[in-house]
């Protein structure tokens, strides 16, 4: 009898834990950032940060993110309030809207099992966040530090020539 009660309790606990790791009716408050100035940087960085409020207030909701078909790890702040993903691209990125798709465990399992020829519903993310990248400013063809170095060397040459004329 005791064994049966113990088994039932363990089963109920497992169900409770499993139920608590999905997010129903998510409310998202997000901030986004992308590099717009390319004068002093060689890569374009993108950051999405958000807070997540779910209907049944589950604890420690694991999330999986995809942007343009690539998966990025979702980081969580120490206090558990903020989530963040970030990625970077080499060089200048033209104006574009990135749609980041986020999946909880159930949605992620459906996504992994989804095939275009299956009868399952099309894979549906738990929520999405859009990042409007306004494009990078036009950068000079030569890096700013190289221009500064050439200017400094020219100045050094002029100074050296003046000094040499005096010492001659």
């Amino acid at each position: 009898m005791m064994k049966l009660i113990t088994c039932i309790c363990v089963l109920v606990a497992c169900l409770a834990i499993c139920q608590g790791r999905n997010c129903k009716s998510p409310k998202v408050n997000s901030k986004v950032y992308s590099t717009t100035s390319s004068h002093l940087s060689s890569r374009t960085a993108f950051v999405i940060q958000w807070t997540l409020d779910c209907e049944d207030k589950p604890m420690n909701v694991p999330l999986f993110s995809y942007v343009d078909g690539k998966q990025y790890p979702v980081a969580k702040s120490v206090d558990g309030e903020y989530y963040q993903i970030s990625w970077s691209s080499e060089g200048i990125v033209p104006m574009k809207t990135f749609v980041a798709k986020f999946y909880d465990e159930d949605a992620y399992a459906k996504k992994r099992n989804w095939r275009s020829d299956s009868n399952l519903d099309i894979e549906q993310p738990t929520f999405t966040i859009s990042l409007d990248h306004k494009g990078n400013e036009e950068a000079l063809p030569i890096k700013a530090e190289k221009i500064a170095l050439v200017a400094a060397l020219l100045l050094l040459y002029v100074a050296y020539k003046e000094t040499s004329d005096v010492k001659a």
Binding site: L153, L155, A159, V166
Partner: protein, 185 residues
């Protein structure tokens, strides 16, 4: 008892003018320019390397003070080297200027040769002092900034900002001081 100096008053003045010692005005000019040029890297590193001035105040303070010391040392050396050469080059021009000025003066008042020579020497010293200060500052600043940009943005660009600043500023100011100690005989 201290030994008596063997130099006359005129000779002592001459040594003072053309020695390594700096007047208060020259020292002030040198330290002011050294301060300005030593704070230029702060602007570079705070805006480009994103180093916050408040968080790195101690490092920036030490770097600025050490850089000021080395750069003013370089100013002093360069100025001393240049002043003699400039005085030799400008000698003829200054003499002509004094002779012309004396000739324009009232004809009744005759200027002795000794006084004329003293005026020429004084004017030569004044011109050489001003020109050597400006040229020394220009030369030293150009050397320091060229070395700093080369180190900070090419050699050590992949280092973390803090060691990048520390190494760049100390090496750049140290090399500038070292180059100033060379002399052409």
């Amino acid at each position: 008892m201290a030994p008596k100096s063997n130099f006359s008053k005129e000779e002592e003045l001459l040594l003072q003018d053309f020695g390594r010692g700096l007047s208060a005005k020259s020292s002030a000019i040198f330290y002011f320019h050294a301060f300005i040029v030593s704070t230029v890297p702060l602007y570079l590193f705070s805006n480009i390397q994103q180093m916050f001035i408040c968080e790195n105040a101690i490092l920036f303070g030490i770097g600025t003070i050490v850089s000021m010391y080395f750069i003013s040392f370089a100013y002093k050396n360069n100025k001393f080297e240049l002043k003699h050469k400039i005085a030799q080059k400008r000698g003829d021009g200054v003499s002509a200027e004094i002779h012309a000025a004396v000739a324009d003066m009232d004809g009744n008042k005759k200027v002795s040769k000794k006084e004329k020579d003293e005026r020429i020497l004084w004017r030569k010293n004044e011109v050489a002092e001003a020109e050597s200060i400006q040229l020394a500052v220009f030369n030293t600043n150009a050397t320091f900034l060229a070395i700093l940009i080369f180190l900070a943005f090419l050699i050590f660009k992949n280092y973390a900002p803090t060691p990048n600043y520390a190494i760049s500023i100390f090496v750049a100011s140290g090399l500038t001081a070292l180059f100033s100690t060379s002399s052409q005989n």
